[in-house]
């Protein structure tokens, strides 16, 4: 579980202390963004695909209750048990109930941000069930007892040396062997044993098809497939916004998901689960946990179109330079910075300010969520809810006063342009501009307004 008390700016400042690691993090994630661009450019229809995805999701949200009911009918017709959870606690109780009834001792899990959101692992562990996360990145952060720092690449904040050290301690790999292939295959051997001895498997859901009553899970590793093909029980946990109306719509979403997420044309495995395997059980838990409330909010309901690709965080200049661990909500980056504050503005208010309003997130989003616009609206809520630090609040109030009094603003600018250049260095040293590698910009002779006026006069001459 994540610590709700994280303040983004403070946590980011701490992360940036290690400049080498920070630079590496930035460039590793930017590389994924570039791979996404290369994939998008190969498809002449890319922008039309985004529009189709946006329209399908927007349509689905407008009739979400009908599609959920259709989904349940069809799933039950296939012999799948469907459960409804109003909140995280009910989700955890349902999952535990299924496992306890079958006397399950070991559960293998594939990646699911929803179960992170619900705090499922500690809930089950406290009740004596061993939970093994099987996605390699998730396994790494599970062994380190920390939350994932990215929704698609959970361990992207770590260097291979740290993982080597962890695996040496936990899996008995050679000390000092940092080779990613060696480390991955050691985890493969270890996790195979867990797959073969697990009593149940739990997966997330990428898409739930109303028309057929089945769910689709996408992985590159194959962990969701092994985790559901071996144990007799499969539980799939899904947020209620994962619904799509028809099977054919996957012809749009499977083209967008992996290209947006990791710059691959598709994930290795795109698996469609419609029935339990012979002699087994399949359960689907549909979770609300605040989603239906967001649906009723004109400013923020679009965030429910999200397909969790992570493209918005890969492109975000703030995310790349602060890591997911600097965000208080379990989902970081631009999409998390609207979902978190929507859930609880008092806890997650600082996330709304982890944004330069550059708009890049909205431009890469495969379902065209107006992310940067939502973050500006969340800032207003954060201010109104009194979550700002006093200095930030005073700064904003002063700025508001100035922008409401243009003549004062002009006069203030004039004074700054004259005074700042003659200030002794000791006075400017403690500003944000005084850190290594940054210099105070030179003050222009004229304000923008003055330049504009002069230009207009010249034109009319």
């Amino acid at each position: 579980m994540k610590n709700d008390n994280i303040n983004h700016a403070e946590a980011a400042a701490a992360f940036l202390q290690d400049r080498e690691q920070a630079r590496w993090h930035d460039s590793a994630i930017w590389w994924v963004r570039q791979k996404r661009d290369a994939q998008a450019k190969q498809l002449p229809e890319w922008e039309q695909l985004r529009s189709l995805a946006q329209q399908i999701k927007a349509h689905t949200l407008s009739r979400l209750d009908e599609y959920l009911e259709q989904f349940q009918r069809n799933a039950e017709h296939n012999g799948v048990s469907v459960h409804w959870a109003a909140d995280a606690d009910e989700h955890n109780r349902i999952v535990h109930g299924i496992l306890a009834a079958a006397n399950v001792k070991k559960l293998v899990k594939s990646k699911s941000m929803l179960t992170e959101e619900c705090g499922l692992n500690p809930y089950l562990e406290q009740r004596g069930i061993e939970v093994i996360d099987t996605d390699l990145g998730e396994r790494i952060v599970q062994l380190r007892h920390e939350p994932p720092s990215h929704i698609v690449m959970p361990a992207i904040h770590l260097k291979k040396e740290q993982i080597s050290e962890l695996f040496h301690k936990e899996l008995g790999t050679e000390a000092g062997n940092n080779d990613p292939t060696y480390l991955t295959h050691a985890a493969r051997a270890n996790l195979r044993e867990h797959f073969l001895t697990a009593d149940a498997g739990l997966t997330g859901v990428n898409f739930a098809i109303a028309e057929t009553g089945g769910v689709v899970v996408c992985t590159n590793e194959g962990n969701a497939d092994l985790g559901t093909a071996l144990p007799p029980i499969h539980i799939a946990s899904m947020g209620l916004e994962k619904i799509i109306p028809r099977l054919e719509h996957l012809g749009v979403f499977t083209r967008l998901l992996a290209r947006s997420a990791i710059g691959s044309p598709i994930t290795t495995y795109t698996s469609h689960f419609h029935r339990a395997r012979p002699g087994g059980q399949m359960h689907i838990v549909i979770v609300d946990n605040g989603r239906s409330d967001i649906l009723g909010n004109d400013d923020f309901y679009q965030s429910l179109r999200c397909i969790r690709c992570g493209a918005c965080m890969n492109t975000c200049p703030v995310y790349r330079r602060s890591t997911g661990h600097s965000y208080s909500y379990i989902i970081p980056g631009p999409i998390g910075s609207t979902l978190g504050p929507s859930r609880d503005i008092k806890k997650h208010g600082s996330m709304a300010f982890a944004c330069t309003t550059c708009g890049s997130c909205s431009n890469v989003c495969p379902v065209k969520i107006n992310l940067h616009e939502q973050l500006i609206l969340q800032r207003k809520r954060a201010f109104d809810a009194g979550t700002l630090k006093p200095a930030k609040k005073m700064g904003l109030l002063a700025m508001r006063f100035l922008t409401r009094h243009p003549s004062l603003m002009d006069a203030g600018g004039k004074v700054m342009r004259k005074v700042v250049p003659i200030l002794p260095q000791t006075l400017t040293q403690h500003s944000a501009w005084s850190r290594p590698g940054r210099e105070l910009p030179e003050m222009p002779a004229q304000s923008f307004k003055e330049m504009w006026r002069a230009r207009q006069e010249k034109k009319h001459d």
Partner: protein
């Protein structure tokens, strides 16, 4: 009121206006001049390879050409279907030969959904996966593929594209995360 009723009532009360469903077939998608070439080039980067059988050549010939030495081999395209008592029993399979229905040029993915295979675990436990696809069953995009597949009674199907892989350690691509370490697609 149950949670189900509560959730549905809340959605009914709050749901926003939305557009009609778009016609996803109205937009022209990319087409490839040479479908096999596109498929074959792509799968090379995804931990796999693709071949077209020559006259007189069998699938087993192609498999042995790729892996002259191999361990336990299970062939689901053979006349007699091998089966086991439980899904775990495939754990020591080295090569699995399985039928694929549709191949997709844009993603190097192959649809597997085999009604006669009691345990789907075979696709994921095997070290090397061989997918056998009719050569006229390659389509351009995932949209075309979904037009051709059916969700069957046995309830499982998957698009598999190359080998199992991960880049979770420092973004270094490693083949063989949990599933097959290598994939071979044979067009017959």
């Amino acid at each position: 009121m149950t949670s189900r009723e509560q959730i549905l009532a809340n959605i009914r009360h709050k749901r926003p206006q939305g557009p009609a469903l778009p016609d996803i077939h109205a937009v022209p998608f990319i087409r490839f001049d040479d479908l096999f070439a596109a498929f074959s080039n792509l799968i090379g980067n995804l931990g796999g390879s693709a071949v077209q059988l020559q006259p007189g050549e069998s699938v087993l010939d192609a498999v042995r050409q790729r892996w002259p030495q191999h361990g336990r081999l299970v062939d689901l395209t053979a006349a007699t279907q091998p089966q086991t008592a439980q899904p775990h029993d495939w754990h020591d399979v080295d090569v699995a030969i399985v039928p694929g229905e549709v191949a997709v040029a844009e993603s190097a993915a192959v649809w597997v959904s085999h009604a006669d295979n009691q345990w789907r675990s075979l696709y994921f436990l095997t070290q090397k996966l061989v997918l056998v696809v009719p050569r006229d069953a390659i389509v351009d995009t995932m949209r075309d593929a979904y037009d051709r597949i059916a969700i069957r009674e046995h309830g499982f199907g998957s698009f598999i594209s190359g080998s199992s892989r991960t880049a979770d350690i420092e973004q270094s691509l490693v083949m063989g995360a949990h599933g097959a370490m290598a994939a071979l697609v044979v067009f017959v």
